[in-house]
């Protein structure tokens, strides 16, 4: 079953602070994601893998095309939908594990991980319970759960980010280098989480630098380089 379809997508950045230089990034991207897929975005560093992922999440604006997402019984175009609809897609349908953890200082790790479930309407105690299971799986010591993750090491922050992403069973997941900077044990946990999600029917798009990881979990690869726009000069 089709979950996401990008058609004729184009992206450029206009840098007004630098004489309005226009940098074209992509042209004519066509991309389809089905239930149970795990598609790896590939291309050299700087090819625009994260940019494309951010366009899907509507964090970046697309100048051309459409990115339609199956949202419950409807289809929502992430390029043209109004903000409150995009927020609803992010709340119910599409999770995103980014490389950065952005949270309010002082909020406990357990609550940060439980937050996506609370936003979906799950009761606080149930949400905290599921957050605890996820944190335990990702080997975050229980003694740290009441602290803000902003005080954690880079690897720990990343695992909190992963816990937060996987706690809610979204139908679509975007993963931006979820296994970077993790040790072998935790990497195996993340691979298990991805495999379990695929089995549930989650549709995933990921950026993975390790070829082993791609081979272990991905159903196909999508080379973003083919859609690079040609810039003059």
């Amino acid at each position: 079953m089709e979950m996401l379809r990008a058609e004729n997508v184009g992206k450029s950045f206009t840098l007004h602070v630098q004489d309005s230089t226009v940098i074209s990034v992509f042209e004519h991207i066509d991309f389809t994601l089905n239930k149970g897929d795990c598609i790896a975005l590939t291309g050299a560093s700087g090819a625009g893998k994260s940019t494309f992922m951010r366009m899907i999440y509507a964090n970046y604006i697309c100048q051309e095309g459409s990115i339609r997402v199956r949202h419950g019984a409807d289809w929502v175009d992430m390029v043209s939908a109004p903000p409150h609809e995009i927020l609803d897609v992010r709340r119910q349908t599409m999770g995103y594990v980014s490389q950065f953890l952005r949270v309010i200082p002082r909020v406990a790790t357990l609550d940060i991980v439980a937050d996506p479930l609370k936003a979906m309407g799950v009761e606080v105690e149930v949400a905290r319970g599921r957050a605890a299971v996820m944190l335990r799986r990702l080997n975050i010591p229980e003694a740290l759960w009441s602290l803000s993750p902003l005080t954690f090491s880079g690897g720990e922050q990343q695992r909190v980010n992963i816990a937060r992403g996987f706690v809610a069973d979204y139908p679509i997941m975007l993963l931006d280098e979820p296994t970077a900077s993790l040790d072998a044990g935790n990497r195996a946990v993340v691979l298990d989480l991805i495999t379990e999600a695929k089995t549930r029917g989650t549709a995933l798009i990921g950026i993975f630098h390790d070829e082993d990881v791609r081979e272990a979990v991905c159903t196909s690869e999508f080379d973003i380089t083919k859609f690079r726009a040609v810039n003059d000069g």
Binding site: L15, A58, N59, I61, H84, L87, I104, R106, V107, A119
Partner: protein, 258 residues
């Protein structure tokens, strides 16, 4: 104007003599939505906030609000007592300086209780109970209930102002730089508190701030103002991470990294 919006602003223009405070501003605010307004000093943010919140009659344009009875009323078309009643019951305004929103000569408990009496509460025991309850919500020890606000720290004053504003269960809250002038640890605590209250109570909020980090953490949607006009608006993280207008790009690129 969107059908299900709580507040609709159309073509709002405010002038100070020949000078323009804000020009042709329009937006819809939906139930449960937090709208941030950012821009440098003098860009018209506070003018807009005051005009939208019924405190500064605009030169032209319209502000309409959907009441609990589901009828849409024109804020500047109603009588002064009607507008006052709305501001006291359905709306709340959190000032940057808590001294502007509190009565400094009466106790903390009375500051909270006064709003409740304004909406018809008369039972002393219930009012005091609600006051204590709200002090706890904003993390002020209950043994401070009879103290004058003048004995409170800046962060406590701001939290007391928030309690006073939210106790009467408003549906729409206006905030003018609520974390301005507080040191960063107090600010973090207040942000956490505000975010929790806004989502638990399902409030709609219009918040003016010049702090883009505050805007990112609190607001769903953002409007960027420059020279009295809205130059860009959209999803908060979109505006901050992929700004389109020259002024938004300048604003975002001017943030200091810690």
């Amino acid at each position: 104007m969107a059908m299900n919006s709580l507040l609709s602003v159309e073509n709002l223009t405010v002038k100070y003599g020949d000078r323009v405070g804000c020009r042709n501003v329009g937006f819809d605010l939906f139930p449960g939505e937090v709208l941030g307004v950012v821009g440098e000093s003098g860009s018209g943010k506070s003018t807009l906030l005051n005009a939208v919140s019924g405190q500064l009659p605009p030169h032209s344009g319209r502000v309409s609000y959907k009441t609990r009875l589901n009828d849409r009323c024109d804020i500047y078309g109603m009588t002064e007592p009607e507008r006052r009643f709305l501001m006291r019951t359905d709306w709340a305004f959190v000032h940057q300086n808590p001294r502007d929103g509190l009565r400094m000569s009466v106790s903390a408990g009375a500051n909270i209780g006064e709003r409740l009496m304004g909406v018809g509460w008369r039972h002393y025991g219930e009012i005091r109970e609600a006051g204590l309850n709200w002090l706890e919500k904003v993390e002020i020890d209950d043994d401070r209930v009879d103290d004058l606000p003048s004995t409170f720290s800046g962060g406590m004053l701001q939290r007391l102002q928030i309690a006073r504003n939210l106790v009467s269960k408003p549906r729409l809250v206006f905030m003018d730089e609520p974390t301005g002038g507080l040191d960063v640890s107090v600010q973090a605590r207040l942000l956490d508190l505000l975010r929790g209250l806004v989502s638990d109570l399902g409030l709609s909020v219009m918040i003016v701030t010049h702090d883009l980090a505050v805007a990112r953490l609190l607001s769903h949607r953002l409007m960027v103002m420059q020279g009295g006009q809205v130059v860009e608006s959209g999803l908060t993280d979109q505006v901050l991470d992929d700004p389109q207008h020259p002024y938004s790009q300048l604003l975002v690129s001017s943030i200091l990294q810690v």
